[in-house]
């Protein structure tokens, strides 16, 4: 689904992403970890077609990130902590808007919308402004909206920041469910325990990938019990 080889991004003298390589299979949950400033967001931008790489190759859903960014954008879903939905539009309006943006037909939008609202138990709140919803519901709705047009891959940028522990887990159950349906999930997070939910994890340090494997393998490799300790060991060099 995603193939990356020697991908780099430079801003003048500064190398934000330094020749990273990895691949993600269909239906996999891939966790992209690292401290703030390690290069995670830059790397994600290159894969979602928002930023042009300085070097290296990458394909997403089979499309080249240099020449076929429009095709990529049509096939992916995206959600970030900083922005997900328009606060001054209602739940329905948001869903319809994003559905429309991805070229879904009116009737399909309507069908799926009722289904989505039922699943999230938001049916009676469908005409409420998104800004009036509690944070946890917003996050879950935003995730559903990012999947609404049935993309093959979904990119999630720190999706669970700040929510209560139960909502966080409900969110990850939604991710599991999506992966089970065959959607590939590319997620960044700084909650180390969430790294454990992923099939494969890569940890970025200063623009390079310092470690990449399944969580279990990594823990064995560093002889520790938790991903937290893996990270601390890596960061302390």
């Amino acid at each position: 689904m995603i193939q990356v080889e020697g991908l780099s991004k430079r801003f003048g003298d500064f190398t934000a992403v330094n020749a990273i390589s990895f691949s993600v299979k269909k239906g996999e949950i891939f966790g992209f970890l690292g401290a703030n400033g390690a290069g995670k967001t830059t790397a994600m931008r290159m894969l979602t077609g928002l930023s042009r790489p300085s070097d290296g190759n990458a394909t997403v859903a089979g499309y080249d990130v240099y020449t076929q960014t429009e095709a990529i954008k049509r096939r992916i879903g995206y959600m970030s902590q900083k922005f997900s939905l328009y606060e001054d539009l209602t739940v329905r309006e948001n869903i319809a808007l994003f559905g429309g943006v991805y070229g879904m037909k009116r009737r399909r939008i309507k069908e799926k919308m009722d289904e989505l609202l039922g699943q999230l138990q938001l049916m009676d709140k469908r005409n409420h402004l998104v800004g009036s919803l509690p944070l946890g519901w917003k996050q879950k709705l935003a995730f559903s909206v990012s999947l609404f047009h049935e993309p093959e891959i979904v990119f999630l940028d720190e999706p669970t920041g700040g929510v209560d522990p139960i909502t966080r887990r409900q969110f990850w159950e939604m991710i599991y469910e999506a992966a089970h349906r065959g959607i590939t999930v590319f997620v960044t997070t700084h909650y180390m325990d969430e790294a454990e939910y992923c099939d494969k994890v890569s940890i970025m340090v200063a623009g390079k990938i310092a470690a990449m494997d399944s969580p279990q393998q990594l823990k064995q490799q560093f002889e520790v019990d938790s991903m937290d300790d893996v990270f601390v060991n890596l960061a302390r060099g």
């Binding site: 944070l135 209560d164 522990p165």
Partner: protein
């Protein structure tokens, strides 16, 4: 005299009930944690205690002084580190520290011993603009600025949010050392794992306190049987256990899932049920609840 005493405090913002009937007290020299997610009311409570907001109901005292009437005196005795480390981005590290020392009527030198351990780590960068520091360094600078006038009580609002895991650990080590100097510290954090580093904690969610005790105390109070289970397919595991009639709650916890049953169940019985459902490599062990387990169990029902 207790450094902080809160009695039946409530606060609302137009439609939103931020705090409902909060009562709490902190002992001298204690490292007290206020644990809860975004929107729980932590920042509102902090602002009331640091005299920046007036509560709708109830009373609060800091160092025996009333937060509404005696705010001027309180402001001289407390140190405050608000969320987002409010620093002057375009002033250097040095200039920030000097500024805060000056407005509190002291000099950097006077109380340097207090912040030495912290400041030493950012001193090499003292001529750098605060806006260009990393998260961990901003944290240390903000803490130094809050301590520079030797406060009696320290209020830290989410000091570890948005900071990498290594800096977070270092920060808590610094707090432990400060505690030894006799400063009472009230910290808020959304990270449950940091709760165990405090002397006592209050779990807060949606404006109400769920429980107050030492971390151990809270765990001891947890009276339900908890099992950590791992199989090859975590997702299916959760779906299957959700259907089981003996399940009280089931949640993913990383590699394992935490199952709370309605009553004590022999491990073998759980294993049998799971194998029946087709799970392989089933590993089950009964264990003590973590703070997070307790929090989730105490939370009122979420949608």
């Amino acid at each position: 005299m207790k450094p902080v005493e809160i009695q039946h405090i409530s606060k609302s913002y137009s439609q939103l009930r931020a705090l409902s009937d909060i009562s709490l007290a902190i002992e001298p020299g204690e490292l007290f944690g206020l644990i809860g997610p975004d929107g729980a009311g932590k920042t509102s409570l902090f602002r009331i205690l640091t005299t920046l907001l007036i509560p709708d109901g109830g009373e609060a005292k800091v160092m025996g002084l009333d937060v509404v009437k005696d705010y001027k005196m309180i402001r001289r005795k407390i140190g405050y580190m608000p969320g987002r480390f409010s620093l002057y981005q375009d002033l250097t590290v040095e200039e920030n520290l000097q500024f805060f020392a000056t407005i509190f009527g002291t000099t950097v030198r006077e109380n340097y011993d207090l912040i030495e351990g912290i400041y030493a780590q950012i001193e090499p960068f003292k001529k750098r603009r605060a806006g260009q520091l990393s998260g961990g360094m901003k944290q240390k600078l903000a803490l130094s600025c809050a301590l520079i006038h030797k406060p009696e009580v320290l209020f830290l609002d989410e000091p570890t949010t948005g900071v990498d895991a290594v800096s977070r650990k270092e920060f808590w080590e610094m707090l432990q050392r400060l505690k030894e100097k006799g400063i009472s510290i009230l910290v808020s954090t959304p990270y449950m794992d940091e709760a165990s580093l405090c002397d006592r904690i209050a779990l807060i969610q949606a404006g109400t306190i769920l429980s107050v005790d030492s971390p151990n105390g809270i765990v001891e109070q947890f009276d339900k049987p908890l099992y950590a289970i791992r199989t090859t397919d975590t997702y299916q595991l959760i779906l299957d256990l959700r259907e089981w009639q003996l399940t009280h709650s089931i949640f993913p916890f990383g590699e394992y899932a935490h199952l709370i049953t309605t009553h004590q169940v022999p491990v073998e019985e759980i294993k049998t049920y799971l194998i029946q459902k087709g799970h392989e490599q089933v590993v089950i062990r009964q264990q003590k609840a973590s703070i997070e387990d307790c929090f989730m169990d105490l939370m009122p029902a979420v949608a």
